[in-house]
């Protein structure tokens, strides 16, 4: 048996690619033949994958092979999933509700809408996998059979962050200021404006000796709006958008910051939360999407965006090292649930389910 994985995109530092590569690694370590295909890829991806057209050549070979199709956005290669003769599992990473993009980027708005519209077409798969229980429930709501759905959590790729940190950035962040961090794509559903508002209360009302660092790819029309907010709030020089950063720079950000802020209103999983757990940042996250599930009862979760109150909480954390240590310890404990061993056990279970399912294998 071989396991084929088809993705829309395979590239470095991207959670879906990391998930596919984690599966690939575990399968290879078991001695199972694993193949990766992508609609498009960067140089990093080319080291592991072939273009998805290659899969078409083998998908009707009458073997007992398995296809795992990763879905997070509409992609033309979804036809492979529909037409394959192999047993097939959808790996659903969630699609951002398109309305978040309405005022900022039509292309993303459209792709998200198309992606969600097409999701129902996958309901006849042998097994629907989601990377969180939240995503699995969403699939069931969309018409997937609950008994043919399961959860395969993401294994956060933390090794690449163990690299040497960027010295210039580390030095800049190590000047004694209280650093707050947001990591991830700067896109509307992440609600970076709310993180800026929280920071405004903290900076103007509680501790001016502080800065907010935002690291990640930026949607420029959204960035323009955020920049206007930063200026209106008088925070120029205190809020820093780093744009896309290298692994070394990201490592410096995690090591140089004390608090991770997530104000996102739609998350299918959220890998940066686990990365923050790993680096010992205290995580303050808004209760939305799969965030509470990812945090698993550790860290700080808030249900209301009461910015002055949260700013005061940050101040308390600054002054109360015992509380801070308790939070960090609980976060580290939670991180153990996402170990490689745990991931391998999950993968073994879902593959067993997939192979036991009455599939439509040709032959």
């Amino acid at each position: 048996m071989r396991v084929h994985q088809v993705l829309p995109w395979l590239g470095g530092g991207e959670p879906i690619s990391s998930q596919a590569l984690a599966i690939h690694e575990v399968l290879t370590s078991w001695g199972v033949e694993s193949r990766l295909y992508a609609y498009n890829m960067d140089d990093f991806g080319r080291r592991f994958a072939a273009y998805d057209g290659e899969y078409r050549k083998v998908m009707h070979d009458g073997s007992d092979d398995v296809l795992l199709y990763h879905y997070a956005l509409y992609c033309e290669n979804y036809g492979l999933f529909r037409e394959t003769g192999h047993r097939k599992a959808l790996v659903y990473h969630n699609i951002t509700p398109p309305d978040f993009y309405r005022d900022y980027h039509f292309g993303s708005f459209f792709l998200c809408r198309l992606g969600r519209d097409h999701l129902r077409e996958f309901a006849d798969c042998d097994l629907a996998l989601a990377d969180s229980e939240y995503n699995r429930r969403e699939l069931v709501q969309m018409g997937f059979a609950p008994e043919r759905s399961d959860v395969l959590p993401i294994q956060p790729p933390l090794e690449y962050l163990e690299a040497d940190e960027d010295p210039a950035l580390a030095r800049w962040l190590g000047d004694g200021k209280t650093n707050l961090l947001c990591v991830g794509r700067v896109v509307p559903n992440k609600k970076i404006e709310d993180a800026i508002r929280l920071f405004a209360c903290y900076h103007h009302g509680v501790n001016a000796h502080s800065r907010l660092v935002v690291a990640g790819f930026m949607l420029k029309s959204y960035y323009a709006a955020l920049a206007a907010l930063v200026k209106s709030l008088g925070l120029e020089g205190s809020v820093h958008f780093l744009g896309r950063v290298s692994d070394a720079q990201l490592a410096a950000c995690y090591r140089g910051c004390r608090y991770y802020i997530s104000t996102s209103e739609h998350e299918g999983f959220s890998t940066p939360l686990l990365e923050s757990f790993h680096f010992g940042l205290v995580v303050l996250a808004y209760d939305a999407g799969a965030v509470p599930e990812t945090m698993g009862g550790s860290g700080i979760l808030f249900t209301e965006k009461d910015y002055p109150l949260l700013a005061e909480l940050l101040d308390r954390l600054e002054r109360d090292s015992l509380l801070r240590e308790r939070v960090i310890a609980a976060q580290r404990e939670r991180l153990a649930d996402f170990s490689r061993e745990s991931f391998a056990r999950h993968l073994e279970r879902v593959l067993a389910r997939l192979l036991a399912a009455p599939g439509e294998v040709e032959g």
């Binding site: 033309e76 979804y78 036809g79 529909r82 005022d103 980027h105 039509f106 292309g107 459209f110 198309l114 519209d117 210039a168 030095r171 800049w172 000047d175 404006e193 508002r197 405004a200 209360c201 103007h204 009302g205 509680v206 501790n207 001016a208 000796h209 502080s210 420029k220 029309s221 960035y223 323009a224 709006a225 955020l226 920049a227 206007a228 907010l229 200026k231 209106s232 709030l233 008088g234 205190s238 820093h240 780093l242 744009g243 550790s298 860290g299 700080i300 979760l301 808030f302 249900t303 209301e304 910015y307 002055p308 109150l309 005061e312 909480l313 308390r316 509380l323 308790r326 939070v327 609980a330």
Partner: protein
């Protein structure tokens, strides 16, 4: 509700502190209003209209890219669907204003023999091109480049910080060399009294003296420790305390004093429209560049009425330093400061209060 490690946090203490900060005006009404304002509305109402223009241009460029892609991949089925869906959405929204439904062309599913979408009307494309003449497109690209520069700004800030650190380390090394008498060092006898961060704080006596000069309201530009801000706040005379030195502001904030941080204090002073103040305190004029200092004293000349006072701190060092950072300062000669004050109509006298050298300017009735 706030959950800490899964357990609900007792918020009473935090709420009490929030209330206190509100009462002490640490959260200004403008700030509180901005917390609830829609992001796009903030952008449209921003004093800097560049952001709104950028947002619009960026969207136009995105749409243009979409259009190019569409032409390039005309044979691609899903691209045709993009056009059809967009057109249907625009038509539906124009008609009813209600959210558009997915087009019929998506049913039955792709790959199952759906109908071909109607061709794109040519007239519409021409109109689109008319909307975007080459000059506008060029401007849009220039603006985009500026955004890219803005993104790179973070890197330059790092570089600047690195230079500051390198300079500071060099200074410390020089000081060590001098103090250890490890060899002759030119000018070693003259270089005493140079500040290193943090800046020296005013004593309680000096702060009381300054607060005593104020009758209706004081503006403090540069915070010399918490004593002055606290003394003015307790008397209800603090109109505005602003500094570009974050640590000084944070210290005042920790005592619930309404100090403000701003990278360009003068800009905040103009924006805040402080009225009714009769005292301007500038404890560290040496932390300001000459033109900024002149601008600030010009503001004082305009806004402080008859009997209004300006109190300038005077450092004890020499004007031989590089003004790289807070603490690395260029001391302004007393004659220069005196000249600036006199030019704005202040009568000047030199004073020393509790070990702090000061320059007091007082505006006469004719000023």
């Amino acid at each position: 509700m706030i959950l800490v490690n899964g357990r609900e946090l007792d918020e009473h203490g935090l709420r009490a502190r929030v209330k206190l900060r509100r009462e002490h005006l640490l959260y200004t009404p403008e700030l509180l209003e901005l917390l609830d304002r829609d992001l796009l509305a903030v952008m449209r109402e921003s004093r800097d209209q560049g952001f709104a223009s950028l947002h619009g241009l960026r969207r136009a460029l995105d749409e243009e890219d979409e259009e190019k892609d569409r032409r390039r991949e005309e044979g691609s089925r899903w691209r045709r669907l993009v056009s059809a869906t967009r057109r249907e959405q625009e038509e539906a929204e124009a008609k009813s204003g209600e959210p558009a439904r997915p087009p019929a062309v998506l049913e039955p599913p792709l790959g199952a023999g759906g109908e071909a979408p109607p061709p794109q009307p040519e007239a519409k494309e021409e109109k689109k091109d008319e909307k975007r003449p080459p000059l506008r497109r060029m401007i849009a690209h220039v603006v985009t480049m500026r955004v890219v520069q803005g993104v790179g700004e973070g890197y330059f800030q790092q570089l600047k910080q690195f230079n500051i650190f390198a300079t500071r380390e060099l200074e410390i090394l020089q000081r060590l060399l001098r103090s250890g008498n490890r060899g002759p060092y030119p000018g070693r006898d003259r270089r005493g009294g140079v500040w290193l961060s943090p800046r020296p704080a005013w004593s309680a006596e000096a702060a009381r003296y300054a607060a005593g000069l104020c009758g209706t309201g004081a503006v403090v530009v540069g915070i010399p420790g918490h004593a002055l801000v606290e003394a003015l706040w307790e008397k209800g005379l603090l109109a505005l305390a602003v500094d570009d030195h974050a640590r000084a502001v944070a210290e005042a904030q920790s005592r619930f004093c309404p100090a403000r941080y701003h990278p360009r204090p003068l800009e905040l002073l103009e924006a805040a429209r402080v009225g009714g103040a009769d005292l301007l305190v500038v404890p560290f004029p040496e932390c300001m560049e000459g033109p900024r200092l002149e601008e600030l004293l010009r503001w004082a000349g305009r806004n402080l009425g008859a009997g209004g006072r300006v109190l300038l701190g005077r450092g004890g060092g020499e004007a031989r330093r590089f003004p790289y950072e807070d603490g690395f300062v260029r001391f302004w000669p007393a004659a220069y400061l005196r000249g600036l004050l006199e030019r704005e109509g202040f009568a000047v006298e030199e004073r020393e209060e509790a070990g702090t050298a000061l320059l007091l300017g007082e505006k006469g009735a004719e000023g």
